[in-house]
Point group: C2
Amino acid sequence: MHSQRKEPRVTEAVAHDCTRISPCSAQAIELDEGDELVVIDPQGQQVSDLVAYNRNDLDEYLSSGRSIDYASKLWLTTGDLLYSNRSRVMFDIVEDTCGRHDFTLTPCSKDTFSIIYGETEGRPGCEGNLAMALAPYGIGVDRVPIAFNVFMNVSVDGDTGRIAVLPPTSKPGDHIRLRARMPLVVAMTACSAGQSNNFQYKPIDYRVVRKGG
Amino acid sequence: MHSQRKEPRVTEAVAHDCTRISPCSAQAIELDEGDELVVIDPQGQQVSDLVAYNRNDLDEYLSSGRSIDYASKLWLTTGDLLYSNRSRVMFDIVEDTCGRHDFTLTPCSKDTFSIIYGETEGRPGCEGNLAMALAPYGIGVDRVPIAFNVFMNVSVDGDTGRIAVLPPTSKPGDHIRLRARMPLVVAMTACSAGQSNNFQYKPIDYRVVRKGG
């Protein structure tokens, strides 16, 4: 399906305690309260769309609108909180070596590629990949919300409101560490949208540090 | 429930073909493809949180993330399109005399008032009011997404990402005209959040112009 995409040469080994999300794919994991999730950009300039659901009530989900409203800023980083649609804290951002992420745009999809890029090959995009990863939980594609787009660099012109998707500022090894504040189902991608990842379609790594582990 | 709120004096009659949404409340209506919905700020500086669902498949809903992405701007106005989560056009914005609306924040809720304003009286907010208006359609509060916040004035600092909720720029009689591109259930509020409406809690009017009517 991604035959037109040239997978970048992987020049470093995956750290032994990390799991790799292959280019243009997604994975889902479960976290308990107090667990930490470290999302890592191993090669630089890659984006990971991240969504989360209360594991005990999947109708509660990560909400960009709540998180932005309570922080009074678009770009969240160390010390900020990620809220659910029910205004409860899902994550503390406890470490962030990059400092620039987006929380305004929906995961790219087959239709995104058609509308923005004129693509016709029907790649599932982050939205389709997230839905596949979340299928075992009964979460369908219509319930994939605006993601916390880790390392995604979206500029805003404060005068006109124009936005632009720029190459991520993340360097190899940059990471963000999120501490779960409730039991969660989390899904993450290695992003499929060329604009978002400077047309390099790299992998994403992650590591889970279990509470007390 | 709103006993602490002083309802502003209504100084003009409701236009004969308009319906009034009382302060701090919401209403739901149905539109057919081609119908036009005119949302009017009759007294100025009031906000209306607007959400929409495909009437034939209520899992399809108005999506801020898609709309912003495809327009490449945060602030949408005449000539712009409002998309669903499935990347289909729900509305054309065919007229807009105000020119400033928000599409990044979730409707205010009981918890918003608690977290941002320190209120303890438990007002339902736009989220609760939208859910009440949508209850006949089986749409619960967890399915109220980020709204198209008509007349809401949210500034963004393009350097820091800081946002601020400012008084609306809308003058008495300002309005936005939306043409439905599919059969829709639409819910709208007269906003309950003090910051959004300059602490004046005014009504909102609307008018539906039926296709060919």
